[in-house]
Amino acid sequence: MISSRTEGCTLTGALSITTSVQDAVSVIHGPDGCAHHNFSLLHALHFDNEQLVLPSILSSSLKEQEIIFGGEHALEDAITGAMGGNPGAIFVLTSCVAAAIGDDVSAVCNEIKGCPVILIPTGGFLGGGFSDGVRSALIALSDLCNGGYPNGMVTLVGEKNLEYEAEANYRELQRLLGLLGVKAQLRFVRNIATSDIEKIGSSSLNILRDESLADVGDALRDRFGTPYQPSFPVGFEGTLTFLSHVGDALNIESDRAVSAEMVHQEGILEHFSELRGRAVKVYHSGRTSDPFLTELLELFDLELKDRGQLLSLPDPIPVGTSGLSRMLSRWQRILHA
């Protein structure tokens, strides 16, 4: 498995998902240091997102003794400790230390009765990078659903829980889906209870946060037969296309929603008309899609120049029309300054 060297740990990716199941406990089979690094990071980001609830991360506290003699008993102890709090589920994540010493984590998890124990074989950096952890966690958590029948509602899959704009993006999705008369029944996984996961089997359409989650979309489609929309909407045109695709997938007429959104977008283009014809230099971190930038350059007749006003494209790309509007607002402020 090739992963980006600088992407961060699978544990962090998986924990960004599992700690968002509010009545569950995440157990890291590894040293306390791994647990602290991640707990501290999540604690900081939760503050940024005004979520003043501490995530539940338990460590099997691997030390030199377990490195030499094996850490399975330590894991068993940790899981037993986690069960004492009567959680909705226990998610067991493996660190690179556990992977390196070759503990049979699966066997330990299978022995536990009385509480759902889901193994997420992250393996620290030996299992890839941050996004591998996210994907593994989402797929593993879907095991908590036994299936269901499509109910006309949608599920949002893989919201970036560490993203500063996560709630703003959710509100934009709600607004757009509202234009179609569609409801999001589940955020898989953001601030939900273990029992909510059952709903994923009855979703009529899964909307993935971005295209990197295609594996997850495929897995959910194979398991529950649910089609998926490959990403949240990006760009003006992309937002209109999103409405149209969601309508098609749910057999809903979308023309009226698309027309209403077009009117809304025209208002925004007018509001930011000061940007038109300006010479700019756009900085982006390299992962921003070209069509997104091309659309903006064309719509505002922007001229790319080395000595133009430096503007930056956020990463991830802003979601929907509202995300674009906020980005254009920041651009306008810079041009005013």
């Binding site: 962090t12 306390d32 240091g33 604690h43 940790a78 950096f125």
Partner: protein, 376 residues
């Protein structure tokens, strides 16, 4: 049964990196994956380097990768330090044997211990040399993760300068050049983190202790003038007395739980007892507790902290933002890493006269604000 719910303190690897990163002139390499790099890089705000290991490196060997990074850094830094992480330590890479020249090498994988252990291990490798001609004293116990690090350095320098004593080297928030010409005498800012360099002349943690330390310096150094210190001490102590007396006219003494490293916690407990007759329920220690007249307990996990708070609920809490969230109803004073959800830009000391004044000011304001909120 193991019950490490939400580990609150960093590992040995982070401790070692914190030591090296505090010394300008040392290029610090974390030999491990990006997950191990991002945490210290985020909290220390210093330039760090990493081999960014991936699975293939463990299969085919990471020696060349490490060698390449070290060679590059040798051109930029006077010294290079390599801190080993868990997995390369388990697989048993013999790093020392293939790295040419002098490398500051610490094998401090996270599973071997806590922050302090890694920090001390790294300190022992520093190329520090006592210079008999070095003027003044060393400041010891400064570490970048400490909320009071820069404030302590400034306060110690201010007090020493007023007494006519210079600072030769700062362990470990200084430069390679200065630790290479350090003094043979040191003043502690945080006794938990004594580097082992220089004979300790005492600590500046506490006004009385600062005074004693200055008196010790008088015996060894010429021209130590304690006049300015004594004058300031008297006026600040009187101001603290008056403020605390006024507080106690209207309020009961606080019931306080303190969470941090042992030395800081014990110091704060003694001061709160002295000036406010506080009931100290516990010193929750992130590291190994020493001797204290107060009850001490380990507090390295959130479950332990919650238990300690539940057993004897405090109305005043000194600790980190973890404790703040664990007991939101208590008055809160930021006292140890991490401090999230609060902007802190100013250098705040805990040591010396201004550290003492700052501590009591924060405590009184937190208690007054909290009681005001409770009454409205």
């Amino acid at each position: 049964m193991r019950d490490c719910m939400n580990a609150l303190w960093p590992c040995a690897m982070t401790g070692a990196v914190t030591c090296f990163a505090g010394i300008r002139g040392i290029g610090t390499v974390i030999h491990g994956p990006s997950g191990c790099y991002f945490f210290p890089a985020t909290v220390l705000h210093r330039e760090l380097h990493c081999t960014f290991l991936i699975e293939e490196d463990l299969i085919f060997g990471a020696e060349e990768r490490l060698l390449e990074i070290v060679s590059t850094l040798r051109e930029r830094y006077a010294a290079v330090a390599v801190v080993n992480t868990c997995t390369p330590a388990i697989t048993g890479e013999e790093i020392r044997t293939f790295l040419p020249g002098e490398i500051l090498m610490v094998d401090s994988p996270g599973f071997l211990g806590n922050f302090e252990e890694g920090y001390h291990a790294a300190c022992s490798t520093l190329p520090a040399r006592s210079d008999p001609d070095a003027a003044g004293v060393n400041l010891d116990g400064l570490q970048l993760l400490d909320l009071f690090c820069s404030g302590n350095a400034l306060e110690a320098q201010r007090i020493l300068a007023a007494a006519g004593v210079g600072v030769a080297a700062r362990f470990c928030d200084g430069s390679l050049e200065e630790i290479g010409h350090s003094s043979c005498r040191s003043v502690q800012t945080n006794p938990d983190l004594a580097s082992g360099y220089g004979q300790s002349m005492g600590t500046f943690l506490g006004i009385t202790e600062t005074e004693e330390t200055l008196k010790s310096l008088e015996k060894y150094l010429d021209g130590v003038d304690m006049g300015a210190f004594e004058q300031e001490k008297e006026s600040v102590e009187r101001a603290i007395e008056v403020s605390c007396e006024k507080f106690l006219m209207r309020h009961d003494p606080p019931v306080v739980a303190i969470f941090s490293g042992f030395s800081y916690a014990d110091f704060a407990a003694r001061m709160l007892k002295q000036y406010l007759d506080a009931s100290v329920t516990v010193l929750g220690c992130r590291n190994s507790p020493g001797n204290s007249r107060f009850r001490t307990a380990g507090a390295c996990s959130l479950s332990a902290v919650k238990d300690l708070i539940a057993k004897d609920p405090p109305d005043l809490l000194l600790g980190s933002s973890f404790e703040r969230l664990a007991c939101p109803e208590a008055a809160f004073v930021p006292f140890t890493y991490p401090m999230r959800g609060m902007v802190r830009l100013k250098a705040r000391p805990l040591i010396g006269i201004q550290g003492m004044a700052g501590l009591m000011e924060d405590v009184l304001n937190a208690c007054l604000d909290n009681r005001h909120t409770m009454n409205t």
